[in-house]
């Protein structure tokens, strides 16, 4: 599903360069559950941003579902993101002014889906994640675990092939974290490819494979 070849990312620093990612070469197959680990500053989140096409300034080759992302324009990359990728953030990043149902509706509204169809998809998703009773609540009225549950629901609502999760359990206590990881496991079993960043070995154990980064290099794959 994902092929990276000699991917590099740097920031200019004086006359030189400060590398964040160095010669990243790896493959991730469709249906895999991969964990990226490493100390702070290793380049984990940067790699996730590049995979999610949130960051466009890098060199090397990146193929997503055989499409050469490195050759695509920013607009085409944004389309690819919309079509295949869902995000889960450590801080949940639900929109405060919107209810749970409206937060779920947001990705659909950006994909030009008809309102009636959107309503049905949101209703299904609320039911699937067992949060129907919370659909009219605002994020501030939910616990952290519930917020992350809604965030995961929002990430999968547009039916992405790939979920990128940046420390999804980082702000949760263990039982809530377990609940989210079980959810990821289930989604993965249903066919969604998942790439997560975590520091937690227990949550990393849910994945099929662990890639370790240090100072921008892959030190273990």
């Amino acid at each position: 599903m994902i092929r990276l070849r000699n991917l590099e990312k740097f920031y200019p620093m004086g006359v030189g360069k400060y590398f964040v990612l160095r010669q990243i070469t790896m493959d991730i197959e469709e249906g895999e559950f991969v964990t990226i680990m490493g100390p702070s500053g290793a380049g984990k989140t940067t790699l996730l941003c590049i995979l999610g096409m949130l960051d466009g300034a890098w060199s090397g080759e990146y193929y997503l579902l055989d499409q050469p992302v490195h050759k695509l324009s920013l607009k085409q990359r944004a389309e690819l993101n919309k079509q295949y990728i869902g995000f889960v953030f450590q801080q949940y990043h639900l929109l405060d002014g919107l209810t749970v149902a409206e937060n779920l509706d947001i990705p659909l509204s950006y994909r030009d889906i008809k309102p009636s169809e959107r309503q049905a998809i949101v209703a299904d998703t609320l039911d699937r994640f067992r949060i129907v009773g919370k659909k009219d609540l605002f994020p501030s009225q939910l616990s952290g675990g519930q917020q992350q549950l809604v965030a995961v629901a929002r990430a999968v609502i547009a039916n992405p092939k790939l979920i990128l999760a940046d420390e999804p359990t980082g702000n949760l206590h263990s039982s809530q974290g377990k609940e989210i990881m079980e959810l990821f496991k289930k989604l993965n079993e249903e066919g969604t490819t998942i790439i997560q960043v975590t520091h937690n070995e227990t949550w990393a154990a849910y994945s099929h494979r662990i890639i370790k980064l240090a100072d921008g290099w892959i030190v273990k794959n």
Binding site: T45, A78, Y110
Partner: protein, 830 residues
Amino acid sequence: MSTLLQDLRYGLRLLAKNPGFTAVVILTLALGIGANTAIFSVINAVMLRMLPVEKPEQLVQIRFRSPRSADARTTYTNPLWEQVRDHQDVFSGVFAWSPQEFDLADGGEARNVHGIYASGAYFSTLGVRPAIGRLMAPEDDRRGCGGVAVLGYGFWQQHYAGAESAIGSLLRLNGHSFPVIGVTQRGFFGTDVGDQLAVALPICAEAIIRGKDSLLDHRSGWWLLMMGRLAPGTRSEQATAHLNVLAPQIFAACVPPAWRLQDQEVFKSYTFATTPAATGLTGYSGLRNQYERPLEILMVVVGFVLLIVCANIASLMMARAAARQREFAVRLSLGASRARLIRQLLTESLALSTTGALFGILFGQWGSALLVRFVSTTTNRVFLDLSMDGRVLGFAAAMGIVTGLLFGLLPAWRATRVSLTSAMKGGEEQPSESRSQFRSGRWIVAVQVALSLVLLVGTGLFVRTFTNLLTLNPGFDRKNVLMVSVNVHNAGISPGARVPFYGQVLERLKSLPGVVSVSQSWLTPISGLEWNQDIQPQGYQPPAGEMPLVWFNGVTPEYFATLRTPLVAGRTFDSGDTATSPRVAVVSETLARRFFPNVDPIGKYFRMSGPDPGSTEQLQIVGVVKDSKYISLREADLPFAYVPLTQAPFIPEDSSFEIRTAVNPTSMIPSAREAIGGANKAASLRFVTLAQQVDDSLVPERLLAMLSGFFGGLALLLTAIGLYGVMAYLVTRRTHEIGIRMALGARQGSILRLVLRDSAVLLAAGIAIGIAGAFWITQFVRHLLFGLTPRDTETLAVAVVVLLAVGLLASYLPARRATKVDPMVALRYE
């Protein structure tokens, strides 16, 4: 559409969550849009709105033009009107009318109402229908008629409480009774934009009111206006061509016999012209002539204020958008396009601006009514139909949309240039983004400063123009002078009895306690009335093409003392200047200088036309007085001659008395009324103080000075708030940096300078742009200024100093707060 509604719903919810921000934005927008709508409403009523009649676009003014002049004239004699009425065949209808003031009182203090003499086809050609009764018909306007009266709807409501019994009742006007036959439809105010028709009499009734002085057969009495309705399919040019076929015959039949032969020949070659009459812009409106330019200037002024309002709101929106960076980043990462986010932000801006526009319409209604009250004077009550129409609503709606885009677009554009990695990394704002947004905020404030400076310079110019006029020495002392205009038409005093009657009034007024002196004159200063004619000064050969035109007034000997117009040489009039003694005149310094240069004018003569057609009489100059203003305070000193009333060619039915008092002049009105009433109760009186009369002539100047002053102050306040906001934001953003500086030993003074230097740069940039802008824009108001030029350095310097002072004060407060930063707290801040 559904996503648009979703954006709107979300936007409204956000605005409701920030009621303070929302209220401030809506209120300032409402004020800005309201001010614009108010001025536009008045412009609409004065210049753009169609006359309240049937198919107004078919109406044309009928003017005539002399081959000697490019300007077309609008007033006709009655013989000319009758010729056009009886011979034209190009209009489906044609009518004439003359605006008048009719006196409702039977003697004593006048109660004037605005009326017209109208030809019989006036209402039918306009397509006006009666509310009750019937309107005037051609049969009502026949020579020798008994006269009928048609009431305006407003007058009927006000004076008859809308009672149907008004029909058939007798209405007393100028001491004569006219049966009321009908009331015009509601909403019809007449054909003169700015006036409200109270009563219409047929033209033939002029002979009843003016008696022997009637102008019906007078070929030099220019008092009627003319309008025609184009027949369907006829163009204005065709109508003009048709009229000009008739022109030689019409003008030849109405040649003024008193004119010189060569002028009579020119008169016969006059031609007609027609222009659209549907709106005040091209139709008849004294108000338009007086206020067109001031209203255009005020429109620009309030436009500037609205731009400053937009700039302030844009700054607020930028700060608000900066706080929403995380939200935008998340939305983008969830698949939103930048265009979609901009649309969402613009939806919020437009929700705010349209709400502001709705309140602005309300403010605009109040403001325009206030404006009309402001331009009304004691002698001229202005009426304008300010009801909301599609044009005003469209204007307010356009303002709402344009302002929404103006203050929304830049913040939306800036705010959506967000780094998506920040969303993944916790949503913290990147320093480079914040700097770029801040640069935009500074740029906006610099523009505000520039706009404010232009407004302040304009304010300064108009205020100084007004004060220059107020403090100008007009050649008379306007303080403590009560004037009363006495009309004896209804008092049954024959021309032969007028002199003794006026003499009696003079004596009675003189004997009143509190009176210093009393005089009588034909005209009073700055009254809007004038009497001028060519003279032939002794020994003066006018250059080719120059007419030695002189302005006159007939006065009693006390006039100069009463108005305190100083005598420069010779003498003023005395009891020796009688009807039988040699004709004498007192002249102004300008007259003496122009026609008698380098010689003593005392004892010199000039000739002027006499009372009989073609006759002249010789006057000897016996005195020279200081120049004084005659028609307007702005005029250059005119060559001015006074003649004694005892030697005046005729005794008019109305005359003015000037009463200099030792007390408040208005307190003398009851005793003066009683004194004149003692001589004759039926004489009609109109009181006004000289100060008030001069003051009324300055309404456009006062309007510009006051409103530009108000809006200039508002602009200054808004700019100060904008500057304060940006500097406060800057200080908050730099708290950490300031903390480090202070920890490293920076003193309070250096921190203060650090912050103030930033605002000084902004102010300097804004002021530089503002000076260039003011230099360019003030050239367009040159002719409205008095006693100073558009590039008046004193005004510019004061405006710059005021703006600098206010700007630095607005920056000082945040700067002072910066000096109070506790390094320990600041370093923990981030």
